[in-house]
């Protein structure tokens, strides 16, 4: 189990950033993943006193503090209205309410975990991350970067007019997903994001403009096949690479049809 020699409730982001430059120190998020590690941590840096646990809405974007619990996103009416319930759907299968009251959006995003429902969902939206030192950059860029000693302060979701659908498959309820799939469409531009491959989520834009022809059973089949050809999957204890590729096709097809108004 994790051991902490010291615990500091940061009084400012500057203090937290400076402490975090030492390799043996760690920022504490929801602690659900970190506590499972065997890391001997010198100083655990707690950001919970910095009022970064709120969701602010402006006319152009949602600003989500890094310490905001996943449960707050799940229950946020405006965010769920904007995503047609996709955000709630992406979160409600993660263990239980008590878990989601602790797990933070910052921890889930900064970790860039392959199994992350959160990363898959946010990558399907027009999402930026705000870093203490690195400034603002797109989540897709951030997701491709190697972890460093920066601090993720906020998630910024721009309110570009967009339709979105989220689906996942699990071997058993509350388990980690075998595959996650988020579909979003902005005007005539569509993209699928596939996560839990089991690698990090990746974007697959509809470069052949299949869905621009309109959402029908035929275009759903073709786009799903296109995604399954593009995606790189792997094998782990939950599923084989072939099974994941098959799931990617099935979930993408369902997501497209759901976006088209079909009830599955």
């Amino acid at each position: 189990m994790l051991t902490l020699k010291d615990y500091v409730r940061a009084e400012s982001l500057t203090q937290a950033y400076e402490l975090n430059q030492k390799k043996s120190n760690r920022i504490l998020g929801g602690m659900l993943w970190l506590k499972m590690t065997h890391l001997p941590v010198q100083t655990g840096i707690d950001l919970s006193g910095l009022r970064l646990n709120t969701i602010e809405e402006t006319p152009d974007e949602f600003l989500i503090g890094c310490m905001t619990p996943l449960r707050d996103l799940e229950l946020h009416q405006e965010l769920n209205r904007y995503t047609q319930g996709a955000v709630r759907e992406s979160l409600r299968h993660i263990v239980g309410v008590q878990f989601r009251n602790l797990a933070t959006v910052g921890g889930s995003t900064f970790g860039r975990f392959g199994f992350s429902d959160v990363l898959t969902m946010l990558m399907a939206l027009d999402t930026d991350v705000e870093l203490y030192s690195g400034g603002i950059l797109s989540l897709a860029q951030f997701a491709a970067m190697a972890p460093d000693r920066d601090i993720l302060i906020r998630i910024r979701i721009k309110k570009t007019p967009r339709k979105s659908v989220y689906l996942s498959h699990r071997n058993s309820q509350t388990d980690l997903p075998v595959l996650t799939c988020a579909l979003s469409g902005c005007g005539s531009k569509f993209q699928a994001v596939i996560g839990a491959r089991p690698g990090r989520a990746v974007r697959i834009p509809d470069e052949q403009r299949i869905l621009s022809e309109g959402i029908t059973s035929n275009t759903a089949d073709r786009f799903a096949e296109y995604v399954s050809r593009q995606i790189v999957t792997g094998t782990n204890m939950r599923a084989s690479a072939d099974y994941r590729r098959h799931l990617a096709e099935v979930l993408t097809r369902r997501a497209v049809l759901t976006m088209g108004g079909e009830r599955l």
Binding site: Y7, G30, G96, Q98, T174
Partner: protein, 160 residues
Amino acid sequence: MKVGIYVNGKKIATDIAPDLLLIDFLRNHGCKSVKRGCETGNCGLCTVFLEDKPVLSCAVPAARADRCQVVTLEGLQEEAAEFGAFIADQGAEQCGFCNPGLLMNAIALFRENPDPAEDEIREYLAGNLCRCSGYEGQLRGMRTYLDFKKGGKTGHEVCE
């Protein structure tokens, strides 16, 4: 390090190790209803209220609860006894180990949503594992409790 944590309304001011978890803090201070189960954040046995929200005390550093209100089943005696009787009437407590966590989370659900549908109950309690009951007895207990709160029969009357 020094902390002052309000447990069931009473302030406990003491020195703790930086990596002490809330579950250990609470059990060390007599709250034995808080059970240690999986220790991976998956079973719900260690559920307590932190600032009125149900959380897993096995994943919260006690230091983070400094100056916060923590409520365990010991602090909900009346509410828990009333609801717990309906679970018992259905024979759903079985070995009893998961019950404190289940009662805590069910009470959190009833406070948030006083008239939940069965799907909502199942979804809210998905993070509370029970290896004896198969959940059906617990669901029956909750339904009769909710009916009782709406003016229906007590658990005893239903069983009779």
